[in-house]
């Protein structure tokens, strides 16, 4: 599936929820299913700045596709990064660089999160795209 298709699938899933509690419960579930980063990659270099909780993201190439793994010490944050990884992992770096991130607003995440956390979310997206830029350069 393309990034666009995955994002639409996520929007569909979130549109089924009536209230914030269901949405949060789903995010918590997603957090639990996150492809976990290996302990050796939980380094300061892989830590995303700008989040009140700790978020580590690791990226590596599998053929011409970029695979992300991540973890966080807070479960809701873990859910957010899980959603982002679902949308961007296993994709070509150039597609990740070009991808629109409007789906975050559409699933009501940004609007429902506190400013500090929204900043963390912005930092997470930025970090995923930075990895893509770095690996795209490597592929070239």
């Amino acid at each position: 599936m393309t990034i666009q298709e995955i994002q639409e699938e996520i929007i569909d899933e979130f549109s089924m929820f009536d209230d914030w509690m269901q949405r949060y419960e789903y995010m918590i579930e997603l957090g639990k299913s996150l492809p976990l980063i290996e302990e050796q990659y939980k380094t300061d270099d892989n830590l995303i700045k700008g989040c009140q909780s700790k978020v580590w993201v690791h990226a590596e190439l599998d053929g011409d596709k970029l695979v992300f793994t991540a973890d966080s010490d807070a479960i809701i944050t873990k859910g957010i990064i899980a959603i982002l990884i679902r949308a961007f992992s296993n994709q070509k770096p150039q597609d990740i660089i070009d991808a629109d991130t409007g789906f975050i607003d559409e699933i009501g995440l940004k609007e429902h999160l506190s400013p500090t956390r929204a900043n963390g979310l912005v930092s997470m997206v930025k970090q995923l795209k930075l990895y893509a830029v770095a690996y795209q350069t490597q592929l070239n």
Binding site: W20, Y24, Q52, I75, T77, S114
Partner: protein, 413 residues
Amino acid sequence: MTDKSTIATTFDADVIRKDFPILNRQVNGQPLVYLDNAATSQTPQQVIDTIVEYYQGYNANIHRGVHSLSQEATDAYEMARKKIQEHFNIAKSQEVIFTSGTTHGINLVATGFSSFLKKGDEVMVSAMEHHSNIVPWQMLCERTGATLKVIPMNVEGELIMEEYHNLLSEKTKLVFCNHVSNALGTINPIEEIIEAAHKVGAAVLIDGAQAAAHIKADLQALDVDFYVVSAHKMCGPTGVGMLYGKEEWLKKLPPYQGGGEMIAEVTFEKTTYADLPHKFEAGTPNICGGIAFGAALDYMNSIGFDAITQYEEELVRYATEQLLTIDGLKIYGTAKHKTSVISFNIEGIHPYDIGSILDKLGIAVRTGHHCAQPIMDFYKIPGTVRASFSFYNTKEEVDKLVEGVKRAKSMLE
């Protein structure tokens, strides 16, 4: 206004709440439960009116204009200084310096002391300081070569006074400590700290930011050298505060900022500085804020600090009891003397997750390290959830907090 003693006996938080328009609003579709008072307190209508009246009626620059508006604004501003002086029982009005807040006051003193300290001197802070009462002193030590010593604390969140007395020596020049810890709520034994420091000839700065809304400090009785507060933690507006300094110290300290207001005479060869307090009040001050600070003190005194203390103690006792009924909940800061702050975590759950769920329920708490990272390092935790109370909070709100935490716990486990 009703006589203070009458209100003290008829303290009714439900009536008091009517003075605070913001408490009527909803957050995320729920009635607001505001429990982040240690970060900033809410503002009563009486203070809001003072601000509106100033801008509608007599907004003018002070201390210079010959016109009536300027006179009125000057009188109101100086009246506020007098109110602050009386509230904190300060001997002379020129010992009251208006600042932009606690951090400004601390930096003013820390910068001034650069000229008095040398290598080998020691300055001391407590282990439970806010970053704003650590970083300026570290910077002072870097500039002067003085050494920073730390008064340790025990696991209850109380300063180990025996260690403090051992650390004090003739090398000690300055001691800094908060009156009340913002992260733990501990009321520190500042009387003992001040007395012991003075015996070795050290000056003492007490950070009263967190105490001022709960304890009415008598600065002459304390014999403290410097005391700093922010108006926004005691029902006043943001961007204004007080630095109290003993006159002898304020005379010795060099000016902090240059500019208008703080001069007596200026030529390109030499400038002579104005007398106290203007020497430390360069530029146009936060005039409206200063006047509103005075109004906030009037408001709090009309309720009465005895009544406030008594009510808040009961509220915190109740909240502590109720929160401790939750399995796995641990409170950080269990000092014998504490006020209005409950910092806690639930085993296995990140404080940020709890804070996020509480916010959805309309409950405002703080999560994180509360600008006191050394305390979090001491307990080896990433942060805490902090509920902080004011006299306008109620037991019903405590119940909502407890229900909210239970709900968060069931969602997050």
